[in-house]
């Protein structure tokens, strides 16, 4: 039952919210459902932390890795719900673009992402990842403008094709397992496969073929270059809370799927093959994304490319491997989600006050929007990896891993990409913050629902940057143990 509730609450919540005709009631119901969901997730995480992996039936399972990512999704989702209260005031009541549709779709989206984390079966994992695309496509196209519809269509088509390749990879994985003598009805069960991994070494060709398709398929969703074309469009055109969810939770979800496959492949064939593949995609992603950040004109596209860059760093951390590399990668995924959520939240305020997100038209933010600017500076410093924020620590750990393993080329690549990204962020942000503003302020004061989530993000990033709580370190270590 512990694992059923986190799935059931958002699913029922989605339909309950859709029944609420009045926007105010819908917001309250959504917050109530959200609170219940946080309790359910918290309960599951505590149970896993204290008693070890939980299994519910044949298809649901939660181990420490699941628990770690559940904390990530629970925290970010709670922040998004609170932020949306203030954000939704400027959404007019339309046919499919009212608060109740927003919350209904968001809860469906949450349901599918929780299902990804709780899947014990690789087939169910695929179904859930595909369902995340379907649930979020309308959220990306929520504004119904030309750009939003185009971005939604592109997102739907590109990700569905990518995910179809992942299905092909999953099937090949299944074939390899069956050929190696694992019974058909358990040959997609992750725990069974992980335990039987040494036996899978009997079919190295099939396993390698499968992993290539898995990385390309799920990599499309992570936003690995060159399959990233949907990502900047979707992040830029979606409403700001949705951009935060896409960047901070959905990308991690897809990364989680790759981690699960990587663990089996690495155990069966040794880390050489799968980790090298991740190094290639990660290296390509950080390099291309960092340079493309320089030429961006739209603030949210800039942040989207930064997401590609950071997912590349996570992939490099996993690819470098060893306890240190994996620790850094998981920590970095968590840190990135906090910093990026915060930055996407500030873009909502910017759009409302300037009516645009074109960075060349935004000047003098520091004077007109002091609170938002403060948040943006803090978020900007965090995302480029400045101390005392958490991303500094995780990037430093990944770099240390690279140096201790002697992969100097990778280390150099990371350093170059980080410097370019740093320069690009600094250049764009100082242009927006400085100078004289042309617009008068639309809103008299910043809302509590805008500032509180940002404050939480800053606090978490500071804690993770200065002294990681021992509980969190323990959880991370047991999450790594799951994968090794």
């Amino acid at each position: 039952m512990v694992l059923i509730f986190p799935l059931l609450i958002p699913l029922l919540g989605a339909f309950t919210v859709l029944l609420c005709k009045s926007p105010r009631v819908a917001v309250r119901v959504a917050l109530g459902v959200g609170a219940l969901e946080m309790i359910a997730i918290g309960n599951a995480v505590v149970r896993v932390y204290t008693t070890g992996a939980l299994q519910a039936g044949e298809y649901l399972r939660a181990d420490s890795l699941t628990a770690f990512f559940l904390i990530n999704i629970g925290l970010i989702f709670a922040l998004v719900l609170v932020y949306s209260v203030g954000y939704l005031r400027h959404i007019p009541e339309g046919r499919f673009s009212s608060p109740r549709w927003f919350y209904g779709l968001v809860f469906l989206f949450l349901f599918t992402m929780i299902a990804v984390y709780l899947s014990a079966n690789l087939g169910l994992l695929w179904i859930s990842v595909e369902a995340t695309t379907l649930a979020s496509a309308f959220l990306v196209g929520f504004y119904n403008t030309k750009g939003a519809v185009e971005a939604g269509w592109k997102y739907l088509i590109v990700c569905t094709v990518g995910i179809a390749f992942a299905l092909f990879g999953t099937i090949t994985f299944y074939l390899a397992a069956v050929r190696c003598g694992i019974p058909q009805d358990t040959a997609l069960n992750w725990t069974v496969l992980m335990n039987a991994a040494p036996r899978l070494a009997a079919a190295p060709q099939l396993l390698k073929l499968a992993f290539v398709f898995i990385v390309v398929g799920y990599g499309t969703k992570i936003g690995f270059v060159p399959m990233h074309s949907w990502l900047p469009d979707a992040h830029a055109e979606a409403p700001s809370p949705i951009s935060a969810l896409l960047s901070a939770v959905l990308l991690n979800c897809a990364m989680y799927a790759v981690l699960r496959f990587d663990a089996i492949t690495a155990r069966a064939l040794g880390p050489g093959f799968s980790h090298h593949l991740l190094l290639i995609f990660g290296g390509l992603s950080i390099t291309v994304a960092a340079f493309l950040m320089i030429v961006q004109r739209d603030l949210k596209r800039l942040l989207a490319y930064s997401s590609i860059e950071h997912m590349g760093i996570v992939a490099l951390g996993v690819g470098i491997g060893g306890p240190l590399g994996l620790f850094g990668a998981l920590l970095h995924a968590f840190n990135h989600s906090l910093a990026k959520t915060m930055l996407f939240f500030t873009t909502g305020d910017v759009r409302e006050n300037y009516g645009t997100l074109r960075m060349d038209r935004i000047r003098g933010m520091a004077r007109t929007l002091p609170w938002t600017s403060g948040a943006m500076i803090a978020g900007g410093l965090a995302i480029v990896g400045m101390p005392p924020f958490g991303l500094f620590v995780s990037e430093f750990i990944i770099l240390t891993a690279a140096f201790t393993q002697g992969s100097y080329l990778i280390a150099a690549l990371i350093l170059v990409a980080l410097s370019v990204a740093f320069g690009a962020m600094l250049f764009h942000f100082q242009h927006m913050l400085g100078g004289e503003s042309h617009t008068t302020r639309v809103r008299p004061k910043a809302f509590l629902t805008d500032l509180a989530p940002t404050a939480v993000c800053v606090a978490c990033l500071l804690v993770l940057g200065l002294r990681i709580p021992p509980v969190f370190t323990n959880l991370l270590h047991s999450a790594m143990a799951v994968l090794q």
């Binding site: 196209g141 519809v149 939604g152 269509w153 299905l167 099937i171 058909q184 997609l188 030429v295 004109r297």
Partner: protein, 220 residues
């Protein structure tokens, strides 16, 4: 050898050829409606193939999967797509960036290519060569249709053809995945087509055309 055994053996032996025929016809088709009907026929060939496999291997699960394919791929999805075409009330040509002759030629080349790439796996794993090649050809042709056709609906059909290929590959190499998982995949597919249909209407309403090659506001 009973009549059913002969029919099953003949179906298994010849279904790959029928799939190739549907692929070549899809490449040459000029109207969206024709493509939808061809997709439905392709689904029918796949259904026959699964039925034959089910009969030969005496597998109850495979009968259930055949039923699912019949309902979803032969009837439900084509019906849904035809309804969309009717209600869209827009010009119905597929608007290809290659001529019919070129498309057929490219598809034929892709079929040849798929026979080449499956060779090592056929020998190593004792899988039916024609069917695996047909599966790969479906994937490749699906991709080709998606990039060469400009209409939004044709991209959906390309995607479905591609998915048919993945499905057929699963069927020929492993006799399909566990039934629960297959049902989930079909449900996702149906929802996907439904959502894409809704998006097609949105594209028409916001852009007044369905030519996705003209959707290029977002760049860089």
């Amino acid at each position: 050898m009973g009549l059913v055994d002969i029919a099953a053996a003949k179906t298994l032996a010849s279904s790959a050829v029928f799939i190739f025929i549907t692929l070549l016809l899809l490449a040459s088709a000029k109207r969206t409606r024709t493509c939808i009907v061809l997709f439905s026929m392709q689904g029918a060939v796949v259904t026959a193939q699964i039925l034959a496999t089910a009969y030969v291997h005496r597998s109850a699960e495979a009968y259930a999967i055949a039923f699912l394919v019949l309902v979803i791929k032969v009837l439900a999805i084509p019906y849904l797509l035809l309804r969309i075409v009717d209600r869209l009330n827009m010009p119905r040509e597929v608007k290809a960036s290659t001529t019919s002759a070129q498309s057929v030629f490219i598809t034929a080349a892709l079929i040849l290519l798929s026979f080449l790439v499956v060779q090592p796996y056929v020998r190593a794993f004792n899988i039916d060569e024609d069917m695996l090649a047909a599966a790969i050809a479906l994937v490749l042709t699906g991709c080709f249709l998606m990039v060469s056709r400009k209409k939004a609906l044709m991209q959906v059909i390309g995607l479905l053809v591609l998915e048919n290929g993945v499905f057929l590959a699963a069927l020929t190499s492993t006799f399909g995945m566990p039934l629960v998982i297959e049902i989930g995949i079909f449900f996702d597919l149906l929802m996907g087509v439904f959502l894409m249909g809704l998006f097609v209407f949105r594209i028409r309403d916001t852009f007044d055309h369905l030519d996705v090659s003209k959707l290029r506001r977002l760049r860089g």
